[in-house]
């Protein structure tokens, strides 16, 4: 019985159905969505860890594969990620009660001078869905504010976003400021955005470049 619920949950993540009202990729699909199935699973005594790893994350993994082969598009991916995000909100108190740690604290910001937020928001949603504690510092965030957040809140990971060739240099300034504050070795710095690349990441001393949100999940999971 428990296995059926988990299998249905994974399938509904892939279908992008948050609730029973939602249409899936397959328009024939009806019945409970991810949210209802999560509550049902908890009622049946299935552990939050099993729900996350075998239901939610397993489903998102398939979504990631379909996105990378261009079978899925951004709206498909966002619907799945929203379903997972809603399930994570339901699971949060249970995780806290059973002392389960998140996979780590991740802060993300679009750097000063740049106001693009779509890419940053997608990365936030996907990492939240993958079990990270995400702190979104916003757009056009001054370097000092990012450094202060790293000092005070001690995230293990920092994501920097910039879309423009004029603002990608600011990501390098943030890394320099972290070095000068003696914080560089406390946090892994990941960069992303249309203008940047692997080469640029090594040029400015970032730990990694992520091509998209799924790549960010892969990179962070590899640090676990």
């Amino acid at each position: 019985m428990g296995e059926d619920i988990i299998a249905a949950m994974k399938e509904n993540v892939i279908q992008g159905r948050k609730t029973e009202e939602d249409e899936g990729i397959d328009e024939e699909l009806t019945g409970p969505g991810v949210l209802e199935l999560t509550k049902e699973a908890l009622d049946k005594g299935i552990s939050p860890q099993v729900i996350i790893t075998e239901g939610l994350t397993a489903g998102m993994q398939v979504v990631g594969e379909k996105f990378s082969t261009k079978e899925y598009f951004i709206p498909d991916m966002l619907a799945s990620a929203e379903a997972v995000g809603a399930a994570m909100d339901v699971l949060k108190p249970h995780l806290e009660a059973s002392n389960v740690e998140t996979k780590g604290k991740f802060a993300i910001a679009t750097v000063q001078g740049d106001i693009h937020d779509i890419g940053k928001n997608i990365v936030s949603i996907l990492l939240k869905g993958a079990g990270y504690e995400v702190h979104d510092l916003g757009i056009d965030v001054p370097t000092e504010k990012i450094v202060e957040f790293v000092r005070e809140e001690k995230p293990q990971y920092l994501g920097l976003s910039a879309l423009l060739t004029t603002t990608m240099v600011v990501m390098g300034n943030v890394i320099k400021a972290l070095e000068e504050s003696g914080l560089r070795d406390k946090v892994k710095v990941l960069i992303g955005g249309a203008a940047v690349s692997d080469e640029y990441a090594s040029e400015i001393g970032a730990d990694a470049y992520c091509v998209d949100g799924f790549d960010a999940v892969k990179v962070l999971d590899a640090y676990q």
């Binding site: 598009f73 951004i74 709206p75 966002l78 106001i115 693009h116 937020d117 779509i118 928001n121 997608i122 757009i139 056009d140 060739t165 004029t166």
Partner: protein
């Protein structure tokens, strides 16, 4: 519908390289092609200074000279930096000119508004302030209001202002097509002499069949009152839809423009 040809932009890789390497012929050809395809304005964006160009204002001057040497079409001087805009305007000999662009931030609105007033230029104004693109119609109309107040105080006429209602991808927020259309309608009803202009292609980011989405959106935006579009005039399908939109919104008397385009074999289904 005014067509602003977008191809001469340093953020297009091949154009950026042509500017860096001073490949004059490539840029001249791209200008002529857009002119011949029916662009009403040629946008000129020289980027922020790469390769041989340490000084982006000098790159703009060089590029303006090249483009104006091969077309009679007016230029749209494209930069968000007032000093680069000023350099482009200084070099440009034509009377009719557009500046692309400012937003509601006073630090840019003030100097660029003065330049536009002095030169009697058209000015593209994005309806956003410092906080990024507002997600709602009301916030965008508020930004338009503060821009209008500021620019008329500097002596600009309403008809010189081309408001960009802004386009966010519908793949990320399914209301955004509607938000842009309602913003166009709101601007046209508040400021009947002011113009509206958009870059369309952001609407289809993250979707399949993007060209189809862009063309349909162009027609819907024309119906909402759009006056101008920044796009690739070499896209024959899109240009066909522009002719259709002009005809269906009553801007092509006796359908002459449409039928002329048909006779020239310019229309693509």
């Amino acid at each position: 519908m005014l067509v602003i040809g977008e191809k001469i932009n340093a953020s297009n890789k091949s154009v950026g390289e042509a500017i860096s390497n001073k490949n004059q012929e490539f840029l001249e050809n791209l200008t002529r092609e857009q002119d011949a395809a029916g662009a009403d304005f040629i946008d000129v964006n020289a980027g922020v200074g790469h390769g041989t160009w340490e000084n982006p204002a000098m790159a703009m001057e060089w590029l303006v000279d090249i483009v104006q040497s091969v077309t009679e079409k007016p230029l749209a001087i494209d930069s968000d930096t007032p000093s680069i805009i000023e350099a482009g305007l200084r070099k440009y000999r034509g009377d009719n000119v557009m500046i692309n662009s400012v937003n509601a931030e006073p630090d840019r609105l003030e100097p660029v508004g003065r330049l536009a007033a002095e030169r009697r230029a058209s000015l593209v104004a994005l309806v956003m302030g410092e906080g990024g693109i507002p997600p709602t119609v009301d916030e965008r109309l508020d930004a338009a209001e503060s821009i209008m107040v500021h620019l008329t105080r500097l002596g600009m006429q309403e008809e010189q202002i081309f408001f960009d209602p802004l386009v966010l991808p519908v793949s990320v927020d399914s209301n955004q097509g509607f938000v842009t259309l309602k913003t166009i309608e709101g601007i046209k009803s508040r400021y009947p002499s002011a113009k509206t202009v958009v870059g369309l292609s952001n609407i289809s980011y993250g979707l399949p069949n993007r060209g189809l989405v862009n063309r349909a959106f162009l027609v819907m935006a024309a119906s909402a009152g759009l006056d101008a579009a920044i796009l690739n005039p070499l896209d024959a399908r899109m240009m066909s839809f522009i002719r259709v939109a002009d005809m269906l919104t009553g801007n092509d008397p006796s359908c002459k423009g449409f039928i002329r385009a048909h006779r020239k074999g310019l229309l693509v289904e």
